[in-house]
């Protein structure tokens, strides 16, 4: 792997802060009642999104979960249209039909988020199968949480993808929680990578809060995938710095646990490295401020956008014109 240049690291720093700021705006506006539903923030998990997606082209396809804003942004979806979707605007990626948990942006290779835990793992395998069948060199990536390994379809998909040698990258963000319940109450299995072993699926457990670590591991995994080596399971140990969803009071987290958050923060950690490589605090602040401004402007434009026309509510149920009139 060619080590990224300092400029490239700075761009990734920008990408981290951009997601962080995006989520901050989601939190703020959800608190203000402007965002419908119950958005789940990826705050604290940004390094996984940025480190993995750095290796993807637009033609590679990505699937994500209920906690998917960061992945979608990192894959290249338009920030304003992504926020507009989360606000339920007509200019949103899905014209306001999907919302936070159902982001799809086919032009950017974002083939969708799911609100059902584990609901799209097999779809991601299907996308990988299509690429394989069509003789393409693209891959399919699916992001999911550690709690998702309780779902049977995760194991069915491991088996299938190993058997068919599908170009499918499983990226597990192991944040130690499923909703309000810690991993220990969900499973005896500490590391999700263990599940890959019976299938001889290549796997690695890494520090998911350290961007350079994620970047390097994803590089290796994706290179293997493009060589046709079959599926790969990358387990990224990470930490959700926010509640399960906006509004979660987190009584299940101790003061000590919350106090240790800053040390885990992937932005702080990349900052230390960049400073060590000679980047000034001022430059980092400037990058951060640029990211903040981009987000704020995108958010404001999204907020100003029109809401979907209620008269169109029955559009898009079917593709075939002959089916449009079902009462």
């Amino acid at each position: 792997m060619a080590e990224p240049t300092l400029d490239e690291w700075k761009r990734m720093y920008y990408a981290l802060v951009r997601i962080r700021q995006f989520e901050a705006q989601v939190q703020r506006l959800a608190g203000a009642g402007e965002i419908p539903g119950f958005p789940h923030l990826s705050t604290g998990q940004e390094a996984v999104a940025v480190g993995v997606c750095a290796h993807l082209s637009r033609d590679d396809v990505l699937f994500t979960s209920h906690r998917g804003h960061g992945h979608v942004l990192a894959k290249g979806s338009d920030l304003e249209r992504t926020f507009a979707e989360i606000l339920g605007r007509d200019s949103g990626l899905c014209r306001g039909r999907g919302g936070s948990m159902h982001l799809v942006d086919s032009g950017a290779g974002v083939l969708g988020a799911t609100g059902v835990v584990g609901g799209n793992l097999a779809l991601a395998a299907g996308a990988a199968w299509a690429a394989q069948a069509q003789g393409k060199n693209t891959i399919s990536v699916v992001f999911f949480g550690d709690g998702t390994t309780g779902a049977g379809v995760f194991h069915e998909t491991l088996n299938l993808s190993a058997l068919w040698r599908l170009p499918l990258l499983f990226v597990c963000e192991n944040n130690g929680y499923a909703e309000f319940t810690s991993r220990e109450e969900h499973s005896n299995v500490q590391h999700v990578s263990s599940f890959a072993v019976p299938y001889a699926i290549a796997t690695k457990t890494i520090d998911g809060n350290d961007l350079p670590t994620v970047y390097a591991a994803a590089h290796e995994a994706i290179a293997a995938l493009r060589r046709g080596a079959g599926p790969y399971l990358l387990e990224c140990m990470t930490y959700r710095m926010a509640g399960h969803y906006v509004g979660d009071a987190q009584p299940y987290r101790s003061k000590e646990e919350l106090a240790a958050i800053k040390e885990k923060c992937p932005i702080e950690r990349l900052k230390i490295r960049l400073v060590a490589e000679g980047v000034t605090q001022q430059e980092l602040d400037e990058i951060g401020e640029r990211a903040r401004q981009e987000v704020l402007q995108g958010v404001e434009r999204a907020r100003a956008a029109a809401r979907p026309d209620p008269a169109t509510v029955l559009d898009h149920v079917y593709r075939s014109p002959s089916l449009h009139s079902i009462p």
């Binding site: 965002i35 419908p36 539903g37 119950f38 979707e85 339920g88 605007r89 899905c94 306001g96 039909r97 999907g98 919302g99 936070s100 948990m101 159902h102 799911t114 609100g115 059902v116 835990v117 584990g118 609901g119 709690g147 998702t148 309780g150 779902a151 049977g152 499923a178 909703e179 309000f180 319940t181 109450e185 969900h186 499973s187 299940y252 809401r307 979907p308 209620p310 008269a311 169109t312 509510v313 029955l314 149920v317 079902i326 009462p327």
Partner: protein, 329 residues
Amino acid sequence: MQYTFIEILRRALDEELARDGAVHLLGEDVAAGGAFGVTRGLAQKYGDKRVRNTPISEAAITGLATGAALCGLKPVLELMFIDFATLAMDCLVNQTAKYRYMSGGQVAVPLVVRTQAGAAGGAAAQHSQSLEAWFIHVPGLVVVAPAAPAEAYGLLKSAIRLGDPVLFIEHKRLYTMKETLAEGAPLPEIGKARVARTGTDVTIIAYSAMVQSALEAAAELARVGVSGEVIDLRTLLPLDMTTVATSISKTHRVVIAHEAVLNGGVGAEIAARIGSELFDELDAPVGRVGCPFAPIPFAPGLEQALLPGSGAIVHAVRELLGAPAQARE
């Protein structure tokens, strides 16, 4: 005393846990109170063996509850959203519902599956469905869908004591509704509807949150001199056609309302039965109100445009009565 829907469910569970050691609660996060706080405090009170967290494994936990019910426990399983019951259909339909029959009556499955349904405020397509119609098509199940807190209290307790598998469907929009509980009232019988408001001109049949819309509609109709009788079905399987027939023999006009998609909904069965059993009583075609044929969209404006409410009921009633139709709510 006044209780919200959530509080009253908690009280019913609390009392049943105390009354019968065979009763156990299980589900994702239930020991932490559950996604909506229904089970809050119960793990502390009864221990984490009686109120158990589970992994995110809807298929297995439904099987687990069913197997335990075969062996003497009375599990109350929480499936967080009815949308996730899709992951437990094999068990619910092929095992839970059929076990007694396939065994020639040797065993029973005293199981309650509590779940939560309906649309509210941008929960979107995968967290907003009303799928009860699937389950009334499955012999061996019982389906209950309470319309208000005090009702839910009694029905949940009756369901736990029934001895057959019950799907108990709570509506998320009702969770904050408050009501006073009449202490010591007898528990309702599973399978009996209730008249929620009496009237003479038209019968409005509803269940779950739509009963509240039906009552609003009846109030609005009363202002224009139309007397609506509202029937709260309470139990969707079995259907209480006796109560329905009594009402229609009086009003000769009926509208059935539910939030679920109209096509293939519970209302179809009720309308078909009325059309067949009460053909000669009807002065007008049976009216049906339900969700038009689309998934629930995320944007609130779209959601509201799609969801039927009291306005749609009023509209349907006025159509039956031959009054000039008004715009949909």
